[in-house]
């Protein structure tokens, strides 16, 4: 459905934010995972017609996105990573305004759209409040509401769960899952659970390049038996860092749990664990770092 071929973007300061990104994204939820600065937002903006990439083509169905951004915009719902609001405008009015911008012209259609979305995103009770008074989670819900106006065929949500509390995040992901059945939804995030919970397909982006692409289950399966863990004292961490290439470290009950990637049993008290998507993600990052 959405095809990217050799999409490259170089910023004026020489930063190569995207390096020959080639992706084919089908209908349904698609997770784009990557650390901060991996080029996710640049890629999202390029797809959302906000930034013309220096090279490459982007096609959505029949639409050449770079040549005819106007056509894509008619089918697009976009939730930027970070956005502000106009002052002195209520949630209802702003949603109404966005509806007109998206071509929902007749007052009756607009009313239906706005009211449905306000209910759907649970903003109905605060619809008359000024957006500038909204907390981060409420603002994010408004963002998703506006992205859904006019039945978009391509929905891009960039880091949608950053700043949401767990409950809000849950509700938000539910909403996305509901929509994601019939259209293309690209979920860009650095939170592994978002992807593992929702997306039948995913890609990992790091240093502007696609490092990994596939279905999460298959990817997890491919690392099966290669992930090993050990619980160590915090003081030992530096020593382990030198000895092994650590995939991840986290604290548990005051001690440190380290994961490493190894085809064979590394011994030294490491035990095998079932790999999660997180281990896949981190091992990809480690490999990309190694390659660099």
């Amino acid at each position: 459905m959405l095809n990217l071929r050799d999409v490259t973007h170089v910023y004026p300061n020489g930063t190569r934010a995207l390096d020959r990104v080639t992706l084919s994204i089908p209908r349904g939820m698609y997770g784009l995972l990557g650390p901060n600065g991996a080029g996710k937002s640049t890629l999202m903006r390029a797809i959302a017609t906000l930034q013309t990439p220096t090279e490459g083509t982007i096609r959505f169905g029949e639409i050449d996105v770079i040549a005819e951004p106007e056509k894509l915009r008619r089918k697009l719902g976009y939730l930027p990573q970070d956005f502000g609001v106009y002052p002195r405008v209520s949630a209802y009015d702003m949603l109404d305004h966005m509806a007109v911008l998206k071509g929902v012209a007749s007052p009756a259609d607009r009313k239906t759209t706005v009211e449905t979305l306000l209910h759907q995103t649970n903003l109905w009770n605060v619809r008359k409040k000024l957006l500038s008074g909204f907390s981060g989670g409420m603002r994010q819900r408004f963002g998703i509401a506006q992205a859904l106006i006019g039945n978009p065929e391509l929905i891009i949500v960039d880091e949608p769960t950053a700043g949401l509390d767990p409950e809000e995040r849950n509700r938000f992901l539910n909403l996305l899952a509901e929509i994601g059945e019939s259209v293309v939804v690209i979920l860009s995030t650095h939170i592994v659970e978002d992807v593992s919970d929702l997306c039948p397909r995913m890609a990992v982006l790091a240093d502007g390049r696609v490092q990994l692409e596939g279905a999460p289950q298959e990817l997890i399966h491919s690392t099966h038996g290669r992930i090993w863990m050990k619980v160590i004292d915090r003081g030992e961490l530096a020593c382990y860092r030198e000895q092994y290439e650590l995939l991840s470290t986290r604290l548990f009950a005051g001690r440190t749990v380290v994961h490493i990637l190894s085809d064979r049993d590394p011994g030294n008290g490491f035990t095998a664990v079932d790999a999660g998507l997180e281990d896949v993600y981190f091992s990809t990052l480690v490999q990309s770092r190694r390659a660099a």
Partner: protein
């Protein structure tokens, strides 16, 4: 630590774009004002550009403008940490509150002080520029700048920074701080105007003025140009106290700010708490599970949807502007100023007028000029950058809104907002009209002549600003560019063709008589022309619009060409066509139908003309002995044809070989001229100068006949100000606009002294000295006495008027034709008028008194007729018979503002008297005064005309002033005269302070009205007080008897002074005549602490200490004290003279007592207790401080 913080703050502020804009503007302003000619800031009326006084004024002015910048600097100091959320981090370091607050304040203050240092730098550099005119520059004196910088500017910056720093610290809000600034400035203006003109509060006002401007102007009031150029006022008195008081207030403000600032963490802000509450409320709802997203309506992208989108966007943009707090502040300020100006400033000379729509429009334009400018430029920046500033651009730009919708909706919104603000001021104006009881609302005129043109002009500016913002890398840069553009446009003297000057249009003068005439055509042609250009700019802005996250210009330029295809291309093409077509049409009008002349070209020509022809000025030339004119006016076509026949007579004692015939008006064309027995030996078409060689010289007494035909036609429109003399309704042409003049004279030469210097001409054309008896051969007006037979024809519905007895007045062939024959000799100094007039006649003493007026301007017609009756009675009784059978007061359009006397005819501007409002009985009756003055000219100019030499102005203007003053005295009583005298005194002292040339005594005055009119009135009044009215009138009668309608030699001022001396009986009176007319004498009379003590017998012992001084002034302004020994009035009153309630019953005592130089104490015993005592209480003497002549008695 403290110093480090201040230094950090300095460095921080150096990155503030506003600081750079302020600095650049300050530098540019002064650099240009110093070096470019014709652009003056603090200097005025002949002062050197870098005169001491001008320098001080510059520092004051710039420090007042600095308020806005310094406020932003210092308010930023306390507000930015809270805005960025960085505050808690900074405040948790070891820095103390004092270091944090005061260190930063000082850093910001230092930056403002540094910006101010650009003033001396710019002045110094500007004065060194090779293109600067050295004659308008004096030496740069360091001391002026030290005085201005340290005593005026720096304290002013400190004051504004400290006050608004305190406000910002207390309110923690930028908007509140700016509101405070506006309140501060407007409060200052209100107080100034409410109390500024009360002499008893003078010192209080001077000390209370936060900027010290009042103290400075009080300290230098009535200083002459010579003094202002080099003298600095003493730093004492009000000026010193003012500075001390305000520095004290600044320190208090800083202390307040320090005390009010809580350094400890402020806790969560109100906004934060509100957010939490809202979120909590939301989480209390039960979460509804979604019901699928499939049921939403689908979008359309047809025309209806686009219309809805455009409308929505426009409305939204309007809301964003109108609801923003800054807009409310701007509008409040604009309306405040508008109301203020409309209510108080409509009558600057104490001459209130009826609030006619056309008199309100210029006031509105004036009062509400800056606010629309700010709105256009400021909000253009806001609109272009709004999405980006609010970080909603990713939402909006990714929506399927077409690209054009940005520029179109934003420009539409700008236009509607601007129009609404202008309409608001119309409402304000109408409210003022109604509240003044003026019911005649002409809303159409407001709309056509104010709202539409102003909206259009502001939209042009907004379009430019939108374009500039579209290519600027930052909003502040765009604003800065627009500011520089505005400044450049103000200063620009090089480009004055409207085709090259963005938004430039010819003037569209307005008048009740003539409406907008045909002047709107030129104005709107250029508006269309620039409108088309603005559309091109907007198309360019559209093509370069920042959509998405790309903000660099280059990629957008690359993209622009692709975007041009389609509608933008068509719009641009159409706009380009209109631009070219209207440009060509405008060029045809301004440069082909009319002659295009730059300002410099006019001056070049005048200078060249003088160099070529001035040499002929004392050739003997014949005089027009009689003239027959047939003038056909076609006002609807703005055309006139004059056929004339002049009998020329050699009145000189020498034979004449050449006759010089020339035109003074470039719009006049001499289509034929012949003098029998001559041949044309010079025909200079450029300067319209012809010399005819007589085949046989004209002997003394011999006559020749000149026949000629002239045409004038005003076709199309010009680039500059349109000709307003021959118009559709209200034509007013003088003789030189209809016929040639004989011989070379001063007319048509350059007058401005600086300009003359630039062309290497002497500062002024030499005027014959008073002692040069031979100069008495020429009159100062016209060429000698003439008889006239003038036929004027015009449109059938207009009334033609020319000098002379009307012998016929018929309508024939759709035209109205009237013939006028002079019954007494007149001067070739007359006017012809034609308009649709109402007439009011009154027959008095055998004379037909008539007023020809615009039917809507009937208010003061009777007052004029009453004044004519009173004046005629006085003049006929005291001076001699009135020579004509008519007096005609004829209204003319308010394009110019004066009244003038021609033989039997008084053209009177509609804005000068006809719309004066005398419903308030206290108003000084200038209409009566002016009418009496102009009628007096029927004696003093049109019967006795002075010789063309020094002192000429005294024989016409001074005598007319005296005559009018006597009429007013007779009508109003002597006790009311003080207000008139005070008016004259103030005008004289202000005039001499601003005069560029040396001040002559009255006997040698030329045409400086501050001397002829204002000093003349004072001198003559005092003299008639001392010699007696009858003695003066006797002298005048003798003068009239001797010179009435006589040819050469024409009288000199000395002849009148001799007539006065013949009436003076004592040596004291002779000395007074010398002081008043042959010298410049100033007095300094004052009382100090007069007291009244009750005696045992119930009467009162009154002690009046008097200090007196008399000064002789020499032309350059140097003063020497001379001994005073004159008998001067001492007055004791029960009310203050000159006040509303004052009349004869308030006079307890009025006696003349000998007053010497120095201090003396006078004692009186009175029956009533006086509350006021004064020396020279009615201001008969010229005294620069007349306020201390009368003081309350304690």
């Amino acid at each position: 630590m403290f110093a480090k913080i201040a230094r950090f703050e300095c460095r921080y502020q150096l990155r503030n774009p506003l600081m750079w804009v302020t600095a650049a503007a300050t530098f540019a302003l002064f650099f240009v004002s110093m070096s470019v000619d014709g652009f003056e800031l603090g200097s005025e009326g002949g002062l050197l550009e870098n005169a001491a006084y001008a320098t001080l004024r510059n520092y004051l002015m710039v420090s007042v403008f600095f308020i806005f910048a310094t406020t932003s600097f210092v308010a930023n100091v306390v507000i930015r940490d809270d805005e960025t959320g960085f505050g808690p981090i900074v405040r948790s370091t070891r820095i103390t509150k004092f270091e944090y607050l005061i260190g930063r304040f000082l850093g910001a203050f230092a930056i403002a002080g540094l910006c101010m240092l650009l003033v001396p730098l710019a002045i110094w550099l500007g004065s060194l520029m090779p293109w600067a005119d050295p004659t308008t520059l004096g030496p740069n004196r360091l001391i002026d700048h030290l005085y201005g910088y340290f005593l005026l500017a720096l304290p002013n910056i400190l004051i504004s920074s400290a006050v608004f720093f305190a406000l910002a610290t207390i309110t923690r809000s930028m908007m509140a701080t700016y509101l405070g600034v506006i309140g501060f400035v407007s409060g200052f203006f209100i107080l100034q105007n409410a109390f500024g003109d009360r002499p008893q509060l003078e010192t209080v006002v001077a000390v209370a003025d936060p900027f010290g401007a009042r103290a400075l102007s009080d300290a230098t009031r009535y200083w002459t140009v010579a003094e202002r150029n080099v003298t600095l006022p003493d730093f004492t008195g009000a000026l010193l106290y003012n500075r001390l008081l305000w520095i004290g207030i600044s320190v208090v403000c800083l202390a307040l700010a320090y005390a009010a600032y809580r350094f400890a963490d402020q806790g969560t802000s109100k906004r934060e708490r509100k957010k939490q509450k809202l979120a909590q409320r939301l989480s209390e709802e039960t979460a509804v599970t979604g019901n699928g997203a499939t049921s939403l309506p689908s979008p359309q992208h047809g025309h209806a949807a686009l219309r809805a989108l455009l409308w929505m966007r426009t409305r939204f943009e309007i809301q964003q502007v109108v609801l923003s707090p800054a807009f409310a502040v701007l509008m409040a300020w604009g309306l405040f100023v508008t109301f203020f100006v409309l209510i108080t400033q409509r009558d600057p000379d104490g001459r209130p007028t009826y609030p006619t729509t056309l008199s309100m429009i210029p006031e509105l334009e004036d009062a509400f000029s800056v606010i629309p400018l700010i709105i256009a430029i400021y909000y253009a920046g806001e609109l272009v950058w709004r999405e980006r500033d609010r970080r909603v651009h990713e939402l909006v730009d990714a929506a399927p809104m077409p690209n054009w919708a940005y520029v179109v909706s934003k420009t539409l919104a700008m236009g509607l907002v601007l129009m609404a603000t202008l309409l608001t001021t119309v409402v304000a104006s109408v409210i003022v009209q109604l509240s003044l009881g003026y019911p005649d609302l002409e809303l159409g005129k407001y709309l056509l002549w104010y709202v539409l043109p102003r909206t259009w002009d502001m939209l042009l500016l907004a379009a430019l600003a939108v374009f500039v913002q579209a290519i600027s890398p930052h909003k502040a840069v765009g604003w800065g560019i627009m500011m520089l553009f505005l400044i450049w446009q103000q200063l620009n003297t090089a480009i004055d063709h409207n085709l090259l000057n963005y938004g430039g249009t010819p003037d569209m003068p307005l008048s009740d008589l003539n409406g907008a005439g045909s002047f709107w055509k030129g104005a709107w042609t250029f508006r269309t022309y620039w409108g088309a250009f603005a559309i091109l700019l907007l198309v360019a802005a559209h093509l370069l619009w920042r959509r998405g996250t790309e903000i660099r210009l280059k990629p957008r330029l690359a993209r622009a060409r692709r975007r041009l295809a389609g509608a933008p291309g068509w719009v641009a093409g159409a706009a380009l066509l209109i631009f070219i077509a209207t440009g060509a049409y405008a060029y045809y009008n301004t440069n082909i139908l009319n002659e295009y002349r730059t300002r410099n070209a006019s001056n070049d020509d005048a200078a060249e003309f003088e160099k070529r022809f001035w040499k002929y000025h004392d050739l003997p030339q014949p005089t027009i002995a009689d003239v027959t004119l047939d003038i056909a006016l076609y006002p609807e076509e703005r055309r006139a044809v004059t056929k004339g026949r002049c009998r020329l007579r050699n009145l000189t004692a020498r034979p004449i070989t050449n006759i010089h015939v020339r035109l003074l008006d470039r719009d006049l064309e001499l289509t034929s001229s012949t003098i029998a027995g001559t041949r044309l030996i010079l025909n200079d078409a450029k300067y319209d100068y012809r010399i005819y060689r007589l085949d046989r010289p004209m002997q003394p007494g011999e006559e020749r006949v000149l026949t000629f035909e002239t045409r004038r036609r005003h076709r199309g429109f010009r680039n500059g100000s349109p000709n307003t003399r021959l118009v559709e309704n209200g034509t007013f042409l003088s003789n030189e606009e209809l016929m040639p003049v004989i011989g070379m004279n001063r007319a048509g030469t350059l007058q401005d002294r600086a300009m003359r210097r630039r062309y290497g001409l002497p500062e002024e054309l030499p005027r014959p000295k008073l002692e040069d008896v031979s100069a008495a051969a020429k009159p100062c007006i016209g060429e000698g006495w003439t008889k006239a037979d003038i036929t004027v024809s015009t449109m059938a519905n207009q009334t033609p008027i020319a000098p002379g007895r009307k012998v016929s007045d018929v309508r024939r062939g759709g035209r109205r034709i009237a013939r006028f024959i002079s019954e007494a000799p007149i001067l070739i100094f007359f006017s012809v008028q034609s308009a649709r007039y109402a007439e009011k006649h009154r027959r008095h003493a055998g004379v037909d008194l008539a007023v020809y007026y615009h039917p809507a301007h009937a208010w003061n017609v009777d007052r004029m007729l009453d004044a004519l009756v009173a004046s005629l009675d006085y003049y006929q009784a005291k001076f001699g018979p009135y020579p004509f059978d008519h007096v005609r007061i004829v209204e003319f359009p308010g394009y110019r503002r004066f009244a003038q006397a021609f033989a039997g005819t008084i053209p009177y501007s509609e804005t000068y008297g006809f719309i004066s409002d005398y419903q308030e009985p206290e108003t000084i009756d200038h209409v009566t005064g002016v009418t009496a003055h102009e009628l007096a000219h029927q004696y003093w100019a049109h019967q006795v005309v002075g010789a063309d030499m020094e002192g000429e102005g005294m024989l016409s203007e001074t005598l007319a002033q005296y005559s009018a003053l006597m009429v007013v005295k007779k009508l109003r009583g002597e006790d009311q005269i003080r207000r008139y005298l005070q008016f004259e005194l103030d005008r004289y002292l202000e005039g001499r302070a601003n005069a560029s040339a040396d001040e002559p005594p009255l006997a040698r005055v030329e045409n400086q009205s501050y001397i002829t009119h204002h000093k003349g009135a004072l001198a003559m009044y005092l003299l008639q007080k001392r010699l007696g009215e009858d003695a003066i009138n006797r002298a005048l009668r003798n003068l009239l008897h001797r010179y009435k309608f006589q040819g050469a030699p024409y009288p000199r001022s000395l002849d009148f002074i001799a007539a006065l001396r013949a009436e003076a009986k004592t040596s004291e009176e002779q000395a007074l005549i010398t002081d008043l007319f042959e010298r410049i004498t100033l007095y300094d009379l004052k009382v100090s602490q007069p007291t009244a003590v009750r005696r045992a017998d119930g009467r009162w012992d009154v002690t009046v200490p008097v200090e007196a001084k008399k000064l002789d002034v020499h032309g350059r302004g140097a003063e020497t004290e001379t001994p005073l020994a004159e008998r001067i009035e001492i007055g004791l009153f029960t009310a203050e003279p000159g006040r509303d309630v004052f009349d004869t019953s308030n006079v307890v005592l009025m006696e003349r007592h000998p007053i010497r130089s120095g201090r003396q104490v006078l004692k009186f015993v009175t029956d009533r207790k006086p509350t006021y005592a004064g020396v020279d209480p009615y201001n008969f003497y010229i005294d620069r401080n007349s306020a201390d002549n009368v003081l309350p008695v304690s």
